[in-house]
């Protein structure tokens, strides 16, 4: 922890960055929230513990945050992968952000100033679903189709179309989302059952092969819809079908931006 605070002070004092995006204590003992540290002495307020799960990469593309100047960001492996995925989609340039990589156990902090260093860093941490996530996914996959339909319909029925899932997603950076294109209006604006289903499937598909499974969408959902299951399912499929895993490289392609002539499928007639 001291290591992180010292790094942050150093970076700010030296003027290497103008702001560091990290975590500080939140409203209660169970919550952490984002900190935008701009003065070296503010580094004292930083924390790094199991509460710190939000994917702070969402702030890297926020206009107001960009205005703060050059940024450093405290990044757990998932956030680090997010940064690489954003880089591979040309949303971040090499050297634009200094990443303070946090090891999986949350103890060590390393300064990663280049994407190359970041790639090495994430390469050491296995990506993929946790055992817990796999169990939940398998539970739904194990249902009959009718049960799955009923399950998702009851979940989607609660959706209020606030798009908090989109706002919280670091990969949802389109300046104009498909739901805001209204000529024609592809996805109904209103939160009725048809519009909700279409929205959730579109959201998942637009994240197919790109999702880093940070879970911020599900956390943000005020209605408690487990919508990260959809993107998890797609990530698993992309891995199984194409061996593609998002966020490993700053230059690589992702599952749907490339193809192989011998991609296997068994359902095309």
């Amino acid at each position: 922890m001291e290591e992180l605070k010292n790094k942050v002070r150093e970076l700010l004092k030296a003027g290497t960055v103008q702001a560091v995006i990290g975590y500080r204590a939140g409203s209660d003992e169970k919550t952490a929230r984002v900190a935008f540290v701009r003065q070296p002495d503010e580094a004292d307020g930083l924390i790094l513990d199991p509460r710190c799960t939000d994917n702070l990469a969402v702030y890297l593309l926020k206009p107001e945050v960009k205005l703060l100047g050059k940024l450093a960001i405290v990044a757990r492996p998932t956030t680090a992968r997010t940064i690489l995925q954003l880089a591979s989609e040309n949303q971040l340039a090499d050297g634009q952000v200094i990443v303070l990589g946090v090891s999986a156990d949350g103890k060590a902090v390393v300064e990663l100033a280049s994407f190359e260093a970041l790639e090495k860093f994430v390469g050491q941490v296995p990506a993929g679903l946790t055992e817990e996530e796999k169990v939940l996914l398998a539970k739904i996959e194990g249902m009959s189709r009718e049960e799955r339909w009923a399950f998702w319909q009851s979940e989607f029925a609660r959706c209020i179309k606030c798009y908090a899932c989109r706002a919280a997603c670091p990969m949802c950076y389109c300046s104009r989302c498909i739901v805001e294109s209204n000529q024609p209006q592809w996805i109904p604006v209103s939160p009725h059952d048809e519009g909700n289903l279409e929205w959730h499937l579109v959201r998942a598909m637009h994240l197919a092969g790109r999702c880093l499974n940070c879970g911020f969408c599900a956390k943000a959902c005020p209605m408690g819809i487990p919508l990260n299951l959809l993107t998890q399912r797609l990530a698993e499929e992309a891995k199984a079908a194409f061996g593609a895993v998002a966020g490993g490289s700053a230059t690589g392609e992702y599952a749907l931006s490339m193809f192989k002539a011998d991609d296997k499928e068994g359902f095309i007639r």
Partner: protein, 151 residues
Amino acid sequence: MENDNKATGAFEPKLVAFVCNWCTYVGADLAGTSRLKYASNVRVIRLPCTGRIDFMLILKAFAQGMDGVIVSGCHPGDCHYTVGNYHARRRWILFRSLLDFAGIDVRRVHFAWVSAAEGAKWADLVNKVSGEVRELGPYKEYQGLAGKGIA
């Protein structure tokens, strides 16, 4: 086109086919000019390439009351735009998996490669899909979404 066969009163599925301009559309045309008889309950919508067939079109087709969807284009290696169908294939692999996971009946979504020369394959495809979807009956689940959730 009604959902019932006027003569018998039996259910006739409504199908839509999204096909590419260069292969399947020509293949379907060939089926016609060759006077091959095949099920008449399919509406063909021609798009430039399978790569252009947005997955939303499939959802919209169900939302508009279709009971089954066919998506078809050039065989791998034959794409007029070189690689459109390879990209499409990847997208379908993921999308089909997502549909299935969301509980949508993937037996109602059929993907195929039909070349310009395969008029007979087209006729056969439409007949088979038509038969399969007829067995499944009308897609009431999805059609029931319309207006649901509006107070």
